[in-house]
Symmetry: C2
């Protein structure tokens, strides 16, 4: 059975508060409030959230992995100067491609995740993501 712990709740609250933190950023934020929490716990809990579908693990070029508690479909604007990440809800993205944020788009990176033709037929266990 999954247990509800102080650490998990701190991590989840921090994730919502911070937006798209890396594990290390989130650790420092949480650790400032609760010096007892350990680094490995933060990494493990974030991975567990991602596996359980309670958060998404993001992978941006040139930065550590980041985590996002927003599950609704949306895209990201990633500034190559300051590194900040902005959300665009899908409807807005479709209509104006981020122009509302006055973001200068230089590259568009699209990744579909799923299961390829060969693996759909495979018998192996579905190890999740």
């Amino acid at each position: 059975m999954e247990r509800r712990t102080r650490q998990k709740e701190s991590v989840y609250r921090a994730l919502v508060a911070l937006g798209h933190p890396s594990a290390t950023e989130l650790y420092e934020y949480v650790h400032a409030q609760d010096a007892e929490i350990s680094r490995s716990t933060v990494f493990r809990v974030l991975s567990d959230f991602a596996s359980a579908g309670r958060a998404r693990r993001l992978c941006f070029t040139g930065s550590d992995d980041r985590f996002d508690a927003t599950l609704a479909p949306h895209a990201h604007l990633h500034c190559r100067k300051c590194g900040r990440i902005f959300d665009i809800p899908m409807p807005d993205m479709r209509s104006d491609g981020g122009r509302a944020e006055r973001f200068l788009i230089e590259q568009c990176y699209v990744e579909f995740r799923g299961v390829c033709a060969a693996c759909q037929g495979a018998d192996g266990a579905d190890e999740g993501f």
Copy 2:
């Protein structure tokens, strides 16, 4: 002045031949043919290619950074079981979303890269990407 070296040419040829290799995969491939090439050279040359716009650095969840010599706009299908990566040219992507590859899409990850509103006005040097 940029010099044309045996190492750079080996790395570029391997990049085209392998598709979307990680730096380590590419190193092993190149090293099998030329035992003199060093790991740090492969990492540096790939980064230089990415900076110069001769290749793109890809960042997939759950794998090392990968490199792609295909500069034409295209998206990627990333299988979470076998980890393989398939290209979809943009026109095909628009019309059938990868259905031609019989790929089961579970998630769509979109990242726009560029410069945010605040950084567009900044005086700081443009450090590239």
